[in-house]
Every structure is written in structure tokens, then in C-alpha cells.
Symmetry: none
Subunit: 201 residues, 4 copies
DNA sequence: CATGAATGAGCCTTCATTCAT
DNA sequence: AATGAATGAAGGCTCATTCAT
């Protein structure tokens, strides 16, 4: 028990250090030695837990995605109200990056720069989220007898794109935006558009 | 004249080759030698035109952005109709990446992976587009006496984020989407939202 | 007693494992960890019995040579007939390598690849065999009033060289040669040469 | 012309340095950096001429074998007298190793310790020599209506084994033997054996 | 001007050895 | 006594950059 716990704890420390370094430097410039130093261990130790640098990167990014996605899924799963669902996703995303600031750069700007396999894997992950979201949107449209004719997958893409853009702005931008208000405003745009409704009628 | 023209032409060839290689491989994996070979010149010659690899990258990406942005600006500048403006931007972006497919990967996925300075520069470029767009949106809202209260900068971010997401999907996704329809659908979402308008009334 | 017996048994297991691994991989490519695994013990334990990898190698190869040489000596010691003595040596060598196939590669191809000290030690061991053999040959020549004038040390070298070559061929060659016939043929060559004796007369 | 000559000259310098270092240290302990230093060039330069350390080793040992074997073949090819042929081989071998002392250790003790491919290649080379020699011996036996019944391949193996043993002794032994006498004595043993011919009659 | 052969700093990875348990 | 997790020195190889031609 104790030993496997210790190993798990050390593996976790390495993954944290890896996230920090990879996020700051990008995959290719990150040095295994730096990761080791930040994890407080020897260089060789990393290779007891991960086959090589690439494997370490993959495990790290997979862990982050797993945590993030699983959490999103469970929170949304049984939610029938689209607005609430999107709000939850948005808020959770903000929170997640706020509490993992050190890897924000990685997630937003640098994820797929290792090789084609990892790029493909990331693409597949993203596809899953899009599909999941599109399905919720579709359900919403159907259940509301919605007279508007929109492609739910397209909407999902737009929504996630907008979300990513706002994340980047919030994280790297000079004007820090309050996340609560941001969420509401963004959802308002998506639900009602920017068109002057009074004119529309 | 002739000499400086020749020089300019060679410089241009190097930049094209750099765009192709950096886009395919990413900054750190791209080899100066490959760029030289594709440009049809000797390896050392690159260093007669650019201080080093980093500088070459910067010049290349700057050139692309300059071309792209200038084109956008001039096309939109005197456009008063927001919908038309956004449509133009969207269509031009699609066309641009279609005709520069070899650097699409670079522009969408890999731009800021060199160092913090370049990341900051890119961020500033993006900021300019956002500001420009926000200004147009603001003008539209004001001139229409719009009763809806939205943050034009926020809308600009969302719009560009969505645009980027659709670009990525169109470029790397399995289902190639027709760009004309895509544009219309996307703008429809942004203008009227996804809410059931019949219910809304 | 019991403890020292146990220790001896473990030491022996390590030496056997070392012989197997060193023979298969060669000194530098052999991994201490593999030896430990094959010996069924922990990696650190090896260092309780041997100072380091080099020492382990030395002890192992010394043990093999000791067993081999002692056996040869005792079998030949009181043999007065040279032909019988050479036959015994040849047959015993074949048998020894047949029953230690796993270290044949080591003994034939890889022994002295560690450092100069070990190479010198091996050279000295070989010298002993040569001297021993030369002495027997000398005795034979003297006692037979042999009219042929040959350098017994030279003959010893030639005989052992030929023996080694045949061992290598038998072990790694495609045509497995029957050892009994081989011995007779080889001794025949050494005793009577390849010259046409009928012509000679 | 000039350039390719210079390249050839440098390649040759690298191969010489490689022979010296590999011979002294063995493949695995030899450092590429040492080879470069001895060749008087930078470490990276070696990789302009050879794919990697293994390839360098292979090219070096192949070159040595090619030079050696080709020379032997051409000298022996049209020789009908077996004794002269064997004498030529023996003398040439002595001369070759005398003039390439620095790689003697490599050729005698360490050649096949890199990997199985190279070991197999070396084995094949040796096989060629054996076959070549066996063929000459066979021709000799046939043409002389030799009444002695010996396996020419076996004789070839024995001869080469004895030759190798004498080479090793001459190179590493304390008593330097004069090569001219050595050759005669050795051939005498092979042709007439050590048996007392007066007794034989 | 243009070149590409040469360089060597830099980094990933291995593995003999140690030492806390 | 025995272990095996941890270490870090060492070495193969790459590639941006230089400079002699």
C-alpha cells in the first residue's frame, strides 16, 4: 500500500512538474532535466515512470483532458436545460483554468506541437466534446419545437471557439474580465444574437 | 535596381519556403537546411538575408499577417453594414487559408510556440483585429439604436473564436464543409441566436 | 555452515547467470539488472558478493577457466602417449563447450573485451595451456628419438589454434560436424601432415 | 576533383582514427569524440561521412577486410603450388598485421562484438577464405593423386586457426618470433606432421 | 555574393552503483 | 541480509551557425 501510494505520489509530482515546464516552454524546448529539478528528483527517475519525454507529455496531457472532460460530462449529463448546461460548461472551464493557470498556455496555445499522433489524439478529444455538445443542442432544439433551423454541430463549434477565445483573452489579456458576467453575456449572445430584436419583429 | 529586385525575389523565395516548412513541422522541428533546399539555395545564404532562424520565423509570420490584415482592413474599412462586413471577413479568411493551405496549420495551431516575445507580438496582432471588429460592431449597434445591450469587444472575441474553430474544423476535420453555406449559417447564429424566436415573442 | 553454504549457493547462482548474460550480450552490453533477474535475486545483492560489474566478470571467467583447465590437467597429467593426450584434450574441449553451450560465444569470441588487465590475464592463462602442451609434445619427441625437428611450443600454438577454429566452426557454422570423426581427422593431420607420403618416400 | 579528393582524404582519416580507437578500446568503449579528436576534426563531422557509430565501425572493418582479402586473392589466384600458396598467405598476413599493428587487436580479438549482423558478416567473410583455401588444397590433393584421405575444408580451418594463433602470439606474446622461420616451421608441420617418419616406414 | 563543409553546444537516454528501508 | 528505487555521469547524435573558398 504504502509503496504504491508513494510511487503514485511521485508520478503525480512528475506530471505536475511536466505540466508546468511543458506549458511554459513548449514540448521541444522543455528539458527533461528541468522537469526533474522542479519535481525535486533526479533526471533518471523520470524514466522509471515514463518511457521517454514524448510518453511523459502524452500522459500529462491525457490526465488533464481526462480530469477536465470527465468532470464536464458528469456535470452536464443529466441536465436538460441547454442554457444551464452551457453555463455550467463555461463556468467550469473558467474555474478549471483558473486553478491550473500554469498549464493554461499549454492547453490554449501549444497542445498539438509534438507529432502527428498526438495532434490526432487531441483532435479526437475535441471532436468528442463537439459531438457531446451538439447532441445537447439538438435535444434542446427538438424539445422546444424550435422554428429556427440551425446545424447543432456548427453551433457547438462556434460556441467552443468563442469559449476558447474568451479563455485566451482572460488569461493573457491585459483587461481581466470577470468570469460571472462574461458567462452571462456570452450566453446571451448565443441565445439571442446581436440583432436588434425590436427591428426584427 | 536589378540587383535589389533579385535580392527581393530571393528573400521572398526564402520566406515562402520557411512558411511551408514551419507550417508542416513547427518552429523547433523545422530545419534551416530544409528551408534552404526548398528555396533552392544554399544553407548559408539564408543568413545573408535573416539574422537567424528566429528572425526568419518572425519575418515570415509578420509578412503573412501583414498581407492578411491589410487586405481585411481595406475591404472592410468603408463598409457600413455589419452583416456584410462580417461576411466579407469570413469569406476572405476562408479564401485566404484555402489559397495558403500549406500554412494553415501554422496559423491555426502553431503560431506562438517560439518564445514569449513572438507570442506577445501575435497577441498584439490579434488584439488589433479584435479592436477593429469591435469598433465596427459598436458603430452598428449605435446606428441601429439597438435595444440589445452587448459588449462589442466581447462579441468580437466570440466571433473570431468561432471563426477560428470553423477554420480548424474545415481544414483538419473529416467533413469538409462548404464555405458559402457555412458563412451564412454562422452569421445567422450570431445575428439571431439559437433561441426559439417564436417563443421569445 | 548452513549460512555459508547458502551464501556459496547464491554466489554460484549469480556466477551462472553472469555467464549466461555476458556470453549472450558481451561485457559492455550485459546489464547487471538482467543478471540479477536471471539469478532470481535483487540487483543490489550482487554488490554484496562482488565489488562491481568488472569484478563479477573476472570471477566468472576465472571460475570457468579454473574448472576447464584443472580438468584438462588432471586428465592429461600422467598420460604418456601424446596422441591419446591430444585426443583427450580435443574431446574434453568439445564436451565442455557442448555442455556449456550458453557460454561458448563468450569463450570463443568475446573473452578479452573488458580491459587490458583482463586481456593480459587471459593471455597468461592461454600461455599456461600452451606451455603444458608444449611440454607433453617435447617429452613425446624426446622419448621417440624423433628425427623430425620441430618447435614444440609452435606445435602447441598451432594445435590450439586449430582446435579453437574447429570449435568456432562447430558452434556457429552451418554444417554441424560430428565431434568424434573430427577429432580423428584433425589428429591425423597433425601427426602425418597433408603431404603425399607415397610420393615422399 | 579537388573537393571529392579532399572528402575522400578526410573520410580516410576518420577511418584510420576509428581503426585505432576501436582497436584499442573495443566497439562499446570507444567514444566517437575520441575518434574525432584523433582524426583532427569536430565530433559532428563524423556524422557527415557516416550515419552513426555502428556504420563507421562497419565501414572501417569492411575496408580492412577488403584490402586484406583482395590482396590475398590476387596473390594466390594463379598459384598452383599449394606450399607456395600457403607460404604467401602466411607471409602476407604477417606483413599486413605488422604494418597495421594498431588494428591487430581489433582483427584478432574484438571484431564481432558489436551486434549479430556484424558477427554474421564477419563469419561470412571467414567462410569465404576457408572455401577459397579449401579449394586450393583440394586441387593440390587431386593433382598429386594423393593417397592421404583428408577433408580439405577441415584442413583449411586448421590452417587458419593455427595462423591466427601464431599471429596472436607474435603480436601479444613476450617472445617475438621471427616471421620467416615461423612460416617455414609451420608449413612443415602441416605438410609432414609431427609423427616420426622413420618410425612410420 | 553564394555556398556547404565543418563545428560543438546541447539534450535525451542508459545503466552501474548506492543506500534507505 | 536483501532489496530495488533513485541517482547522475557519460555518450551518441542533431542542427543552428560560421567561414573558407
Amino acid at each position: 500500500m504504502k509503496i504504491s501510494e508513494k510511487k503514485e505520489e511521485k508520478r503525480s509530482r512528475i506530471l505536475d512538474a511536466a505540466a508546468a515546464v511543458f506549458s511554459k516552454e513548449g514540448y521541444h524546448q522543455a528539458k527533461v532535466e528541468d522537469i526533474a529539478r522542479i519535481a525535486g528528483i533526479g533526471k533518471g527517475t523520470i524514466y522509471l515512470y515514463f518511457k521517454n519525454k514524448r510518453h511523459l507529455y502524452y500522459c500529462m496531457i491525457k490526465e488533464i483532458y481526462d480530469i477536465f472532460l470527465e468532470s464536464i460530462y458528469t456535470q452536464i449529463e443529466c441536465e436538460n436545460d441547454l442554457k444551464k448546461a452551457l453555463k455550467t460548461i463555461t463556468e467550469y472551464t473558467f474555474d478549471f483554468l483558473d486553478s491550473h493557470k500554469e498549464m493554461a498556455n499549454l492547453l490554449i496555445n501549444r497542445p498539438g506541437t509534438v507529432d502527428e499522433d498526438i495532434q490526432a489524439w487531441l483532435f479526437a478529444q475535441k471532436q468528442k466534446i463537439v459531438d457531446f455538445l451538439a447532441q445537447i443542442i439538438k435535444k434542446y432544439a427538438d424539445s422546444n419545437n424550435c422554428d429556427r433551423d440551425f446545424d447543432s454541430t456548427l453551433v457547438a463549434h462556434c460556441f467552443l471557439g468563442a469559449l476558447a477565445a474568451l479563455m485566451a483573452e482572460r488569461l493573457f489579456g491585459y483587461n481581466k474580465i470577470d468570469s460571472a458576467k462574461l458567462t452571462d453575456k456570452m450566453l446571451d449572445i448565443f441565445f439571442h444574437g446581436i440583432h436588434n430584436s425590436s427591428v426584427q419583429v
